[in-house]
């Protein structure tokens, strides 16, 4: 018997506003479509009426999880247009915040994935441990979300020596937490049975559809903007780009767990070698010169790109924001085909979607 099963945009199986239409034969999904645009806020349009400082505040509101990534990428665009060189210390502070953000984002996703497969004790354990990362972010930035750590020309807040030592001392604790999570993720039968062979995306399909971030790396695509087009001193840090070839939900779990280890390594290196000097260029409101820049940042979910066009005035002439979910969401119907209806929620969630980000 054929059915069309509508899921979302508001549904218990989904944490985000997306509408998925599943064309099924019995339990099996034969085809699927996804529809977005339920949270379009016109942020790009609003940005044309804002100056650079106001836009930093605005673009941080694109996403509550990767807010720093948006301010970071927008600031890089304005700095590129105006030819501003961010002081090294400011670059390192941006990187530390970005990697802490990646840790909390990956922990958040791992918890949600466990919740969806019914492993609620693991969900609560991971979210409990995530609080350490949130506390570190709060100590460093003053906020649990929307950190406001970026200004055009550098960072807004310094990391003093006491905080530096405290953050450094937290790295072994974070690693111990991650060891426990990794052990459970790699040995637990429930996780393996619900995720292995589910929602497969082959390397060829990932490349064809332009998938990015951990989602692409879990299909064997070896891309990472931090390594391929270094920015903000990422070339100073030693870290690995992990790929897994199986392309299923299990691979997406593994890649994200392994990436957390690399983030801890980067944070440790940045704190140990934190350069002396100013953190920014003076925090002034500047005119955005006539010109255009496109900058990319490896956000927790993948490659985030901003395009900024300046016309010589204080306000942006155009800001265009494209988040990783923009690239990864079109792969969802492809991954759903051939799977059961029961796995649909997990497969949609496996790209670590942020549809509010996507809609802007």
């Amino acid at each position: 018997m054929s059915y069309i099963v509508p899921i979302g945009p508001y549904h218990p199986a989904l944490e985000e506003p997306i509408h998925a239409k599943l064309y099924t034969e019995g339990e099996i999904i034969k085809d699927a479509e996804v529809f977005v645009g339920y949270n379009h806020r016109g942020i790009e349009k609003l940005a044309t009426e804002r100056n650079a400082i106001q836009t930093l505040v605005l673009v941080e509101r694109v996403c509550g999880i990767c807010s720093h990534s948006h301010a970071f990428t927008y600031a890089m665009c304005v700095e590129a247009i105006n030819g501003l060189e961010v002081p090294k210390r400011g670059q390192y502070i941006r990187v530390i915040t970005a990697e802490l953000e990646r840790l909390h984002s990956h922990f958040l996703w791992l918890g949600i994935a466990c919740h969806i497969i019914g492993h609620d004790s693991m969900f609560m354990h991971i979210w409990d441990e995530r609080e350490l990362v949130m506390d570190l972010l709060e100590k460093m930035t003053g906020n649990r979300v929307n950190y406001a750590m970026v200004t055009v020309g550098g960072a807004r807040r310094d990391v003093d020596d006491e905080l530096r030592r405290e953050l450094l001392a937290s790295c072994p604790k974070l690693k111990a937490i991650l060891d426990r999570i990794a052990e459970i993720a790699m040995t637990d039968k429930t996780i393996a049975m619900r995720t292995k062979g589910v929602g497969v995306l082959t390397k060829e399909d990932a490349l064809r559809m332009g998938a990015v971030g951990p989602h692409a790396r879990a299909s064997g695509v070896d891309i990472d903007v931090r390594r391929d087009s270094p920015y903000s001193s990422y070339e100073d840090f030693k870290f690995k780009v992990h790929t897994v070839d199986s392309g299923d939900v299990y691979a997406r779990v593994l890649v994200r767990v392994l990436e957390c280890y690399e983030s801890i390594k980067i944070i440790s290196q940045a704190l140990e070698n934190l350069p002396e000097g100013p953190i920014n260029l003076g925090n002034k409101l500047i005119k955005i010169k006539e010109g255009q820049a496109v900058c990319r940042h490896e956000a927790p979910r993948g490659q985030l790109s901003h395009m900024v066009v300046g016309d010589g005035g204080f306000n942006n002439h155009r800001v265009s924001i494209h988040v990783p979910s923009y690239k990864n969401t079109p792969t969802v119907p492809h991954m759903l085909r051939g799977n059961t209806v029961a796995d649909a929620g997990l497969i949609i969630a496996s790209i670590d979607p942020c549809f509010s980000c996507l809609d802007r």
């Binding site: 977005v36 645009g37 790009e44 064809r208 391929d228 990319r296 790109s305 809609d359």
Partner: protein
């Protein structure tokens, strides 16, 4: 600092360029659009030629060939977005369904004005000047 290299092309070069980039395994970062200082539409095809982004710009054209056959959804989603926001037509692109804008947008307000019209005019048009 990441480098962005601007290169101007004609619309006839869009498809051969996409084919060449695809053969070389280059990622299509995004297709961007904006109205330039002369009031003309500027569409840029931004490819990652690591570590640089090469932006191939087509200026003053409102009908362009789709590269969806080459870059699949990595191209068709930006093309559909540009169609909604700037009313650019992409030959061969299915625009029967909306992407980001409300479902009644296409019938009641048409395509394009949201990014072309200044915000103040847009507010006046949509709210009749009641909520400025």
């Amino acid at each position: 600092m990441q480098e962005y290299k601007r290169i101007d092309i004609d619309k006839e070069q869009i498809v051969p360029l996409a084919e060449r980039m695809h053969r070389q395994g280059r990622q299509l970062v995004m297709i961007h659009g904006f109205i330039n200082g002369d009031g003309q539409l500027d569409i840029s095809y931004d490819y990652a030629v690591e570590p640089v982004i090469e932006g191939y710009h087509v200026v003053g054209e409102t009908v362009l060939p789709s590269i969806g056959d080459i870059y699949d959804t990595a191209a068709t989603w930006p093309e559909r977005e540009l169609n909604e926001l700037f009313a650019v037509e992409f030959e061969g692109l299915d625009t029967s369904k909306r992407l980001f804008l409300p479902e009644d947008m296409l019938e009641t307000q048409g395509r394009g004005q949201i990014m072309v019209m200044p915000l103040k005019e847009l507010v006046e048009k949509n709210l009749g000047g009641e909520d400025k």
